[in-house]
């Protein structure tokens, strides 16, 4: 019984970690129609900022907002310098489906090299600010700790506020409009360039949070090639696709589904099936719903 309960809890916390990256990817997708593979690199870089702040101030709680801001700044710079040019040069035809992906992959490599240059390829450590020891319930220890609880709450707050921004505010409408059709949005008076930069900045901030929380929750290590970050990217993207790339709630839902299914498969079926399970799950969900769990109805065709 406790094993089932703990498996559920593990699934939920793992899902909440994936959802952080998924949210960041959805943000960029929704505001600029780019699948941003550099997201993991951006998150990593912001986490290094956080790390530096911890070295100086000793406080994780100061580092967290700094990492957020750092992430936002980095993302804005990337949008300003690279994505704008990219949009100008290759926004149509077959290449438009792949060049942004390749560009962001290039960026990922670039960011990693930059981190490697400044911080070296050794491990750094961020110690979790809250206890990682599970709550005790009678004689049993639950698979949820103050830190994990904090992560789940942080994600809830993040998703709700971002969803509110997207669905209920003018900025949200402007973000969506510019993503779908920059030219018409311009004609309608939306400052598309600015709005896209804001979209990236939001994603960068979310990525910064993701990096800080993931590092503190996971092994605590930070290196340019952190395994966790590469995997976070892949699993975050898979989660976002499962959820339907256009929905923040979907991203969280997709991440939770992925987390729970993985936890149960790992516990009750086979310990080494992680990667293939992720693929099969994605395949099954997309076969049933080609646009992910929360997908809009397709428009008319003619």
């Amino acid at each position: 019984m406790i094993q089932i309960l703990n498996t559920v809890l593990i699934g939920i916390t793992a899902g909440s970690i994936y959802s952080l990256m998924a949210i960041a990817m959805v943000l960029v997708w929704r505001s600029t129609r780019v699948v941003n593979f550099a997201q993991a690199g951006m998150a990593l870089l912001s986490t290094y900022f956080g790390y530096e702040v911890i070295q100086i101030s000793g406080s994780y709680w100061i580092a967290l907002p700094v990492a957020m801001i750092g992430g936002a700044v980095v993302a804005s710079i990337i949008e300003l310098v690279i994505m704008r040019l990219l949009l100008k040069h290759s926004s149509q035809g077959a290449i438009a489906s792949i060049t942004p992906i390749i560009a962001t992959l290039g960026l990922l490599g670039l960011i990693k090299s930059v981190i490697g240059y400044f911080w070296g390829n050794q491990d750094r450590t961020i110690v979790s600010p809250l206890s990682n020891v599970g709550f005790t319930f009678g004689t049993n220890t639950l698979a949820i700790s103050p830190m994990k609880l904090f992560i789940i709450i942080a994600i809830l707050v993040l998703v709700l506020s971002l969803t509110f921004i997207f669905q209920r505010t003018n900025l949200g409408l402007a973000l969506r409009a510019s993503a779908y059709s920059p030219e018409i949005s311009r004609l309608a008076g939306i400052k598309v360039d600015l709005v896209r930069t804001i979209g990236w900045a939001l994603a960068g901030a979310a990525g910064g949070v993701a990096g800080m929380l993931q590092t503190a929750n996971g092994t605590g290590t930070l290196s340019p090639d952190s395994l966790e970050f590469s995997l976070l990217l892949a699993f975050g993207f898979i989660a976002a696709v499962i959820g339907g790339l256009d929905s923040l709630i979907g991203a969280v839902l997709g991440a939770l589904v992925l987390g729970l299914v993985l936890a149960f498969v790992l516990t009750y079926v086979g310990g080494s099936l992680v990667f293939i399970t992720a693929f099969v799950l994605l395949l099954i969900i997309l076969l049933i719903r080609p646009g992910g769990i929360i997908s809009q109805k397709a428009g008319r065709r003619a």
């Binding site: 997708w29 699948v35 690279i82 040019l85 990219l86 040069h89 290759s90 035809g93 077959a94 290449i95 489906s97 792949i98 060049t99 992906i101 390749i102 560009a103 992959l105 290039g106 960026l107 990922l108 490599g109 670039l110 990693k112 090299s113 930059v114 490697g116 240059y117 400044f118 070296g120 390829n121 340019p224 590469s230 892949a234 993207f237 898979i238 976002a240 696709v241 790339l245 080494s272 099936l273 992680v274 990667f275 293939i276 399970t277 992720a278 693929f279 099969v280 994605l282 395949l283 997309l286 076969l287 080609p290 646009g291 992910g292 065709r301 003619a302």
Partner: protein, 326 residues
């Protein structure tokens, strides 16, 4: 209308001439370059497979490495267990990968851009880990794929790498010739039509789903062939030979080649092989600190990639053509 026939013939002649050139080249260059030549040939096939899929049929794959793996394992299993001759194990690799691709293609045909990207990415992450689930796949250390020594008739001094190169180059030439013909035929035309205007294509009587599945199948077959070539050049197949970064590298190569035309595929393939070496050499030349040596090659590769995507998004060949037109 006579032109058409001569076009096909000219193309064949072109390939034969280029083949002779490569033959000559293989005698003129040193062993390392010959080895790299075999790798280039492998990349040519692999990148073309992406160009077909993305540039023509409009489907994105970030998991082509997985299809290469299917081909590589297919070839090795055939060779090791059934003692198939080399050419047969290559053909087997094509068939196995094409079959796998057609199954995957059925799903792929329903998915739009990023969803397909996600699915193929998940495949590339997931598939190699299967090797450890089944004994006959040889686990992490993988299987041996040994094409044997060059025939004695070629002489004592004929090196193994030259043999690799001959096989890879010939295979690539034949595959490219087929592919060129195919892309210029109604199939290529149909793929492009479905990509740009699927409703209009359907109204013209094209079963768009079938057309996409066919593209995926052919592309996977080519990828399988590339996988067999790759396994030949490293004489083994193992899960770690097909990491996610291989899939990304292939997509990158396709962009460097100019996704929508086959014309630049050599450029993409050569770049993939040359850049790490150039970056390495450059780094060693300037002899900098540890942090620099470890990271400069990566920085150069990524930087080049971004520059190409930003300034020559259609690939160098297309760029050159456009320039000339003006």
């Amino acid at each position: 209308m006579h032109k058409l026939k001569s076009n096909n013939l000219l193309r064949l002649i072109g390939f034969v001439v280029f083949g002779f050139f490569l033959f000559y080249l293989s005698n003129a260059i040193d062993e390392l370059r010959v080895y790299q030549g075999a790798t280039v040939a492998m990349y040519v096939v692999a990148i073309s497979s992406i160009i077909l899929l993305t540039g023509y049929s409009g489907q994105v794959s970030l998991g082509h490495g997985a299809l290469l793996a299917v081909g590589g394992y297919g070839a090795a299993l055939l060779r090791n267990n059934l003692h198939a001759p080399v050419w047969l194990s290559f053909a087997g690799a094509v068939l196995v990968a094409a079959l796998f691709g057609s199954l995957l293609g059925v799903t792929a045909a329903r998915l739009s851009g990023p969803y397909l990207a996600g699915t193929t990415l998940a495949l590339a992450v997931g598939l190699p880990s299967i090797a450890n689930q089944f004994k006959f796949l040889g686990g992490e250390q993988g299987l041996i794929f040994d094409i044997g020594l060059p025939p004695a008739s070629l002489g004592e001094t004929f090196s193994q790498y030259k043999w690799f190169f001959w096989i890879a180059a010939l295979t690539a030439l034949i595959a490219m010739w087929w592919l060129q013909n195919l892309l210029r035929s109604r199939y290529g035309r149909t793929w492009r039509a479905v990509r740009t205007q699927s409703v209009a294509a359907e109204l013209a009587g094209i079963n768009t789903a079938r057309s996409k599945v066919l593209a995926f199948t052919v592309s996977a077959g080519l990828a399988g062939l590339a996988g067999a070539l790759l396994s030949m050049t490293i004489s083994t197949v193992s899960p770690s030979a097909f990491p996610l970064s291989l899939s990304f590298a292939l997509a990158t190569g396709a962009v460097l080649s100019g996704v929508t035309t086959l014309g630049g595929v050599m450029i993409g393939a050569v770049t993939l092989v040359a850049i790490p070496e150039i970056a390495d050499a450059f780094t060693q030349r300037i002899g900098a600190s540890e942090n620099v040596t470890a990271n400069l090659p990566g920085l150069m590769v990524s930087g080049l990639l971004i520059v190409v995507v930003l300034f020559v998004p259609n690939g160098p060949v297309e760029q050159f053509r456009n320039r000339r037109k003006k």
